[in-house]
């Protein structure tokens, strides 16, 4: 039979959860070479909101956890086709061209078109999590074997009972790209071309644009964007670049093992050092947790000796 019982209402668990949630932030970047183009992302986000719903079956449901994108930059490096002049047939014949003019290229190599899209604030995403509470006993790896409980207290390497939210599943809903994303992409493409050709006189830029054709269409074709840019972006980020899977993994790992919902020192201190007198601490031999739809209950059993 347990000696101590501590119960937290759903609201109190929510408050606990907020502390854990607010400690989570991500700053990641990655890129992949898809052949005709490379694409990547540079993202940073934190979590806000979310409601905690305790379940009778012991689950903790967290809904509507907002991803707040502090930084959402998608970039693509596109090899646009060679821009060359000449190469025309000088002496044609019924059997083909007998003599052909040399091709002189505008660039010494396939030029890269760098497209940079800043999508911060333009994407709405939400995460839902279903988790079970997981209790574990943490022994600090820095604690030497055989160290006494008091020496461990002094060295700040006391053992701990830790309660984690261990996700069974994490869902990410990506929806609602803002309408201006399509325009942003077109602007970004045009800006990229301008960056490439900025030093050329107007007539030369005009000629290159004419040879390339509508650059936006060209780039869209290379990137295989199609009609629905939203779908393309989501697919690029989610599937091709694996960003959403990464987010799910990061969130799951964070809650499951990085930051506990509760951390209880063992032995549990009830009176600190005073005038040289050693602290009074209680050994927690066992800790159990139950969850119902109203509250989370911790039950602790004390040991007879430290």
């Amino acid at each position: 039979m347990s000696h101590f019982t501590v119960a937290s209402s759903e609201a109190a668990v929510s408050k606990l959860f907020e502390g854990v949630r607010d400690g989570f932030s991500v700053d990641e970047s990655d890129s992949v070479n898809f052949g005709p183009f490379t694409a990547g992302y540079d993202v940073g986000f934190h979590l806000e909101g979310g409601t905690v719903d305790l379940q009778n079956n012991g689950d903790i449901l967290i809904k509507e956890l907002d991803i707040k994108w502090d930084k959402l930059r998608v970039f693509a490096g596109i090899d646009i086709p060679e821009l060359c002049i000449g190469g025309f047939c000088i002496i044609p014949s019924p059997w083909g061209c007998v003599l052909r003019a040399p091709r002189i290229c505008v660039f010494d190599d396939n030029p890269d078109l760098g497209i940079d899209l800043d999508l911060s604030g333009l994407l709405t995403s939400e995460i839902s999590i279903a988790a079970k509470p997981k209790l574990s006993y943490f022994i600090d790896p820095a604690r030497p074997a055989g160290m006494s409980w008091l020496d461990a207290e002094d060295a700040n390497v006391a053992n701990k009972w830790q309660l984690f939210i261990d996700p069974d599943w994490v869902d990410i809903d990506v929806f609602d790209w803002a309408d201006i994303v399509g325009d942003l992409l077109d602007d970004a493409i045009n800006t990229a071309v301008d960056d490439l050709l900025w030093f050329l006189p107007g007539w030369a830029k005009s000629l290159i644009h004419a040879i390339l054709g509508p650059v936006v269409d060209l780039v869209r074709a290379i990137l295989d964007i199609g009609d629905d840019i939203d779908e393309w972006l989501s697919n690029l980020l989610g599937v091709s670049l694996g960003l959403f899977d990464l987010i799910i993994t990061l969130v799951a790992d964070y809650f499951a093992g990085k930051t506990p919902l509760l951390s209880i020192e063992d032995p549990f201190p009830i009176m600190p050092y005073k005038n040289g007198l050693i602290p009074v601490k209680l050994p927690i031999e066992q800790l159990g947790i139950t969850i119902n739809d109203k509250e989370m209950v911790l039950a602790a059993t004390l040991g007879a000796s430290l």
């Binding site: 025309f88 007998v98 003599l99 003019a101 002189i104 030029p111 007539w203 054709g213 509508p214 060209l218």
Partner: protein, 249 residues
């Protein structure tokens, strides 16, 4: 790494068959077999030599020799005696094949003279000088900047206006039309001017030409022929003199 742009393509305003630049080239047909030495100069100064071996045994019907690129490869060694070595300075060509000389990059100014090394199995030797083109030679150019140019051969007193029309970006990528082929006779007959689109090729058969110089004159044709701009004055004069000397219609 960002690709480097070939800026000379966009900055040149004078094109000379005797001083090759990235926009133009010369072609000489090698009708007779033999070994030929090509001496390359730049702005009048000798740079290097290489060998062209013309023979019925060789399959190549065309060799395109980038004088600028060869410059980088061959200039380091003493090339006066042109000892033939592998890889760099020996090119093979079929009998009746074409040697095309051009410069893919840089400010250009290249010229080439070809003379026979040996008359093995040959009846007589070829001589080619890009600064003095002859009958079967060809001169080719691609003009990019829209506007008006003047084509001249000072030695043979041939002049011809060239108008390069601007191309506007459209829904489809622009592909220049087929090259315009002209010769001295057709230029004299045509009278007024050659009309090209930006990036469209121009091939001049050099019979009757010696050294072709094309100069950029103005960005646009004057819209008011009475007033015009100062820059257009020379063009107007050329039109007037042309009409005076042209064939009556």
């Amino acid at each position: 790494m960002k690709a480097q742009i070939n800026t000379h393509l966009f900055t040149q305003t004078r094109f000379d068959s005797g001083a090759l630049t990235p926009s133009n080239f010369v072609v000489h047909p090698f009708a007779n077999c033999g070994q030929y030495q090509a001496d390359v100069s730049r702005n009048g100064g000798f740079l290097y030599s290489f060998i062209i071996d013309v023979s019925e045994r060789h399959p190549e019907k065309q060799i395109s020799l980038d004088l600028a690129q060869l410059d980088a490869k061959l200039r380091t060694a003493d090339q006066h005696d042109c000892s033939c070595g592998p890889d760099h300075n020996l090119f093979t060509l079929a009998e009746n094949g074409y040697g095309l000389f051009y410069a893919s990059k840089g400010s250009g100014g290249y010229s080439v003279k070809v003379h026979p090394l040996s008359a093995e199995k040959c009846d007589h030797a070829e001589i080619f000088d890009s600064t003095a083109l002859t009958n079967d030679d060809l001169f080719g150019i691609t003009l990019l900047r829209p506007g008006d140019y003047l084509l001249r051969d000072a030695k043979n007193k041939i002049e011809c206006k060239i108008h390069v029309a601007e191309v506007k970006p459209g829904k489809e990528p622009y592909r220049p039309p087929e090259a315009l082929h002209v010769d001295a006779e057709s230029i004299k007959k045509a009278g007024a001017q050659l009309k090209l689109l930006q990036a469209q090729g121009l091939v001049v058969r050099c019979a009757g030409f010696s050294r072709i110089v094309i100069e950029y004159k103005s960005p646009t044709e004057p819209t008011n022929k009475k007033t015009g701009t100062k820059a257009n004055q020379p063009l107007k004069a050329a039109v007037a003199s042309w009409k005076k000397t042209g064939v009556k219609r």
